[in-house]
Symmetry: C3
Subunit: 255 residues, 3 copies
């Protein structure tokens, strides 16, 4: 990864327009601020275009999908597309219900995401590969790299699949990341916030490969650092220390 990239993001303090689920809004806003970004969370259709225009990137997360927010998401995504600004799509729970599946597939016809980030079950669903899911969690097993390549090709985009080993797929190239900690799966929003960190990193002038590796590696290192603190005795204290760690220089996280 490229440590200077993280510094560049922090110098820029990118404004990221979030259309994101209600469960993790507070956690994600705090994580983005701590990391060095500037989050705006706004769902109202009547201001979606204005806010997306003023932002450096758009993050679409359908964790608590509501029919009232779909058009706001499409407007924000299309506005970013027109401006050539990055768009990150997090298709939370796309395999959980047929409604969610239809809506997200519809959105993918209207918007060109720069990155689709999800767990294996979510990305597999987008390319019709059977995968076991439980609610919004992926519990199946299979060829994750195949899933990533297929999705990158089908949607002509970059893919990040989170898991014990994260998979980054930029076109046909596959990169693995093994930083991270099981605590990330023990708090709600552990995956959602990574989407926002990626959106922040996409706003520099670096190559997409550098951006994605840096975002995912840094995020995992922050989790490892937090989990190693003596004050952390479970997911509640981990969460607070993880937010702290997102503000640290990467040198500190590497120990």
């Amino acid at each position: 990864m490229n440590p200077k990239m993280i510094d560049k993001v922090r110098d820029k303090n990118p404004l990221v327009h979030h259309l994101i689920n209600y469960v993790v809004m507070n956690f994600v806003a705090n994580g983005v601020i701590s990391f060095g970004g500037s989050p705006v969370m706004a769902m109202e259709e009547k201001e979606a275009q204005d806010i997306a225009k003023s932002a450096d990137a758009v993050l679409l997360n359908v964790g608590t999908l509501s029919h009232e927010n779909i058009s706001s998401m499409i407007i924000a995504g299309q506005t970013a597309n027109k401006l050539d600004n990055p768009v990150v799509l997090d298709p939370v729970g796309v395999a959980a219900t047929s409604y969610r599946s239809q809506v997200i597939k519809h959105m993918l016809k209207k918007i060109r995401p720069t990155v689709i980030k999800g767990n294996a079950g979510e990305i597999a669903h987008l390319v019709d590969i059977p995968w076991k899911v439980k609610g919004v969690d992926s519990v199946g097993e299979g060829n994750i790299e195949e899933v990533a390549v297929k999705a990158a090709q089908k949607y002509n985009t970059n893919i990040v699949i989170t898991g014990e080993t994260d998979i980054i797929c930029t076109g046909k190239k596959i990169i693995q990341n093994t930083t991270g900690h099981p605590y990330l799966a023990k708090i709600t929003g552990g995956g959602c916030l990574l989407g926002s960190i990626i959106a922040c990193c996409l706003t520099t002038d670096d190559h997409i490969e550098d951006q994605l590796i840096s975002a995912v590696t840094f995020y995992g290192l922050a989790a490892e650092y937090a989990a190693s603190q003596n004050a952390v005795t479970g997911p509640g204290t981990f969460k607070a220390h993880f937010i702290d760690a997102l503000s640290f220089p990467i040198q500190k996280l590497k120990g």
Copy 2:
């Protein structure tokens, strides 16, 4: 209480469909994950049936009641009823406004909850016993056991009334629980999360009495344990340590 029951819940990792207020969503999701359950928080009417069908239990909490969410709640509750899955109803603030009272009484005609959990003021309101409330809090005094028995009979269900002493009423039998800590009343969602922990516990094959006693006792012990930690200096640090404690074996909580 039955310590093995808590282990059984954790082995099962039950999926609980939450239709719950926006204030506590994040806290409750984190608490349920830490405890060993799997929360899905989804309010959209168009996927309410699908999600409720895939879940092991349904939790209905009207803390930020909105007319748009009532039908979703009824669909989810009825779906669980048809599948004989547990339904927990938390009538937050039912006595606060006539609108809320009407809506919840309407819901109780459409849904058969397995458990109604609330504070004394909320449950008293459901059986027309006068009780002093302040916003969504119960501040009155009276015969709480009478309230519990009347509500259990009127709605043909099980009742949990939270307070300094918790009251569990299964049919005509009354059980008291004194585990707990005043800090639970100093954070928002201290009562709401108990509803979710109960929903998790209702998914085992144990007797309802065992399930309710175990859930309520464990929850109070986790609060006591957290409050006793040196690092806890007020409700903010308590909250993080309480989430931690919910993940611990019951032996650890008992010291």
Copy 3:
């Protein structure tokens, strides 16, 4: 400031009806409870009047403005106005979009707020003074006192402008406050929660000047105290300790 005023608020435990953005709901509710108030968070139009009637104060915060919530806000504000109860308006991001600007200016024709609290960019926008903003943050520089006086005059109300130095304007009088800590800008809701603490303090029988100075000074002292704790290593741990500090006697915060 008047330390006894804080004690009076805690003795009263004022009920504050919050119509507030989804991002900070949980944080603000926890902060208000810890401080000694009693928050009710309810957005539904059909119960807005009932809840506002039962409350000691109303807090209107448009951070995640939605067209569905505007009438609820106006009803709650007007109800408090009729009862001569305090109303605090937090025009979050009013300069961010023309939609938000229109809505808030419309609200200001329908409601008489006791206090408008915002950052410099927000208050400057309300009096048509150009000011640089970034999303919902104020990043410009200029004559803040002029902004405060103009806004107090134009809207015939009291103004609190938050920043490195906070400005309180009661009519023509200007008071500065320098308590506080940069961490408050590193968490989401650092400004929003102050609005609620002000609302709590406005419910005593003291003079508005005393109320505003006490609220703003106390809030800043709590932030300083929290930031000075050894356990605080970043914005995540700060947040928990700040909530703790809001419950402390002012003597403890002053060291």
